[in-house]
């Protein structure tokens, strides 16, 4: 066992705890990152304490929210555990209980679905529609007799709506920060960017309505088209690019994407900080990369392009520099 029973002084552990506290709240400024790096490299105690802190963060990030919450809270909060249990039971029961039960029809309810960084999962909604979740994604659903509403909080999803009688379930709606989407019998993906929603329609058609549209636009997006929209307007629609749906195969596919943008994409799947030297920011990247292992992506980059990957803080902070 490596370095077993190494006694790390309390001081170093306390300082590591302080850094975790800071990291958790907001992204570090450049100055803070440097301070953290200096602190970590100051001595072996700090190094060992930080290595522990990183393992802690990774362990925590591994926990699926819907399971870990109830399990870890089990003893001291029985009531909450039961409530969550009942909700999950409704979800699991699916359309049968949903269609028939007056009790369910009489009340609204909602549920959270979430993946952590690097995660990927697929769920079936009570009406039989399926949703795939890409990395770091969260959405709520609210099904009631008048509508089926899916609210995308962050990340990227693919929805395949079930061919159901909409009288039984009400129309299906997807809400993002910028607006609302109404699928018309369909398969499509939605990604929440910062202040922008991106919609890719694979099959069928989707009506996209920005929250504060200022002008009348044709807002029906057809199969084979993709479009971004802000709160105010739809941008020009484009022909669907294969890269846009590569995430469904757990790949990141790009064509002449600037390295800085590419690294932002990789960061969606990876814990820690990735930095690109400004000299390399515009380097065009092309290819398909596995999102299941971001270390492999970094290695592939260093083999294909004139750059060096340096790992600090045990891989938590990675910099790409011209070689």
């Amino acid at each position: 066992m490596p370095e077993s029973n190494q006694k790390i002084p309390l001081r170093a552990l306390e300082e590591a705890a302080e850094w975790l506290l800071k990291l958790q709240d907001a992204p570090l400024s450049n100055l803070e990152q440097q301070t953290l790096l200096d602190w970590q490299q100051a001595n072996t105690d700090n190094q060992a304490a930080w290595e522990k802190a990183q393992r802690l963060m990774h362990g925590m990030a591994q926990m699926p929210k819907d399971i870990a919450g109830p399990v870890l809270n089990r003893a001291d909060d029985e009531g909450r555990r039961l409530a969550i249990g009942k909700l999950a039971l409704l979800l699991a029961a699916g359309p049968t209980i949903w269609g028939g039960s007056k009790l369910v029809e009489s009340q609204q309810w909602s549920a959270d679905y979430r993946t952590t960084k690097g995660g990927f999962s697929s769920v079936t909604l009570p009406d039989g529609s399926t949703v795939k979740l890409n990395t770091a994604t969260a959405f709520d659903i609210q099904f009631n007799p008048t509508h089926r509403l899916l609210t995308l909080r962050e990340g990227e999803i693919e929805i395949v709506t079930a061919p159901v009688n909409s009288k039984q379930f009400g129309p299906f709606l997807v809400s993002t920060q910028e607006g609302e989407l109404m699928p018309l019998g369909t398969r499509f993906t939605v990604r929440q960017h910062q202040e922008m929603t991106h919609l890719v329609v694979i099959e069928g058609r989707v009506k996209a309505t920005p929250k504060q549209a200022t002008q009348r636009q044709n807002n029906i997006i057809e199969a084979g088209q993709e479009v971004s929209f802000s709160r105010y307007q739809l941008h020009t629609r484009k022909a669907l690019r294969p890269e846009s749906t590569a995430w469904l195969q757990r790949m990141l596919a790009v064509h002449n994407m600037p390295l800085s943008t590419f690294i932002n994409e990789v960061s969606r799947y990876r814990h820690g900080l990735l930095r690109v030297s400004p000299k390399l920011a515009e380097l065009p990247i092309s290819g398909s990369f596995p999102t299941t292992n971001t270390d492999t992506i970094l290695t592939m980059l260093s083999h294909t392009y004139p750059l060096t990957v340096s790992r600090h803080l045990g891989g938590y902070w990675v910099t790409l520099e011209a070689s």
Binding site: S4, N5, E14, A17, Q24, P70, N73, A88, T124
Partner: protein, 177 residues
């Protein structure tokens, strides 16, 4: 560093510890557990634990030492069982498509046990704040609002929880993740 004496000496000491004490420890375990199999397993685990620590040559009072280790093993056993139960309950409620693979389930269960042990004995408020942050991904201000406490308190709780985790973490905790 753990004390490491000559392996042969260790082995002989271990052997005599086992033959002198196995019987009464098994009886002691049986009184505390529902079934005989568990009692036999945990008695065995107690000796294995002592063997792994390679400290059998340093034991002055074997009876007290064995009891201390055995109590730890029993409490670990109950913790494990209660987590397993809660975990399986939650798992049964998931839609089939959301079910993690067998292998992944085992990893989740082990990690849950480790985290649960780390958070053991933390005051309830501290634990709640920590789980809201780590599991639910809430911001400190959101936690403060939800719990009706000040932002400063949330930060103090978080630091307390982090520090306890770091202090209790063994070297193999979350290794290889």
């Amino acid at each position: 560093m753990p004390h490491r004496a000559d392996p042969r000496v260790q082995q002989e000491l271990m052997h005599s510890l086992y033959s002198d004490h196995h019987s009464w420890l098994f009886t002691w375990m049986r009184k505390r557990l529902e079934n005989q199999c568990d009692a036999a397993d945990l008695t065995q685990d107690t000796f294995v634990r002592i063997h792994t620590r390679q400290e059998s040559d340093k034991i002055d009072s074997p009876r007290a030492y064995l009891l201390t280790v055995a109590k730890g093993i029993i409490s670990h056993f109950y913790r494990r069982r209660s987590i397993e139960q809660a975990y399986l309950e939650q798992l049964a409620l998931l839609p089939e498509q959301a079910m993690p693979s067998q292998e992944h389930q085992l990893i989740i269960l082990q990690t849950l046990e480790q985290i649960d042990a780390l958070l053991d004995n933390l005051p309830k408020k501290v634990k709640t704040a920590f789980l809201l942050s780590q599991i639910e991904g809430k911001k400190y201000q959101e936690i403060a609002d939800e719990m009706g406490i000040s932002l400063i308190s949330v930060k103090r709780y978080m630091k307390q929880a982090y520090l306890q985790c770091l202090m209790l973490m063994e070297e193999d905790f979350f290794a290889g993740i």
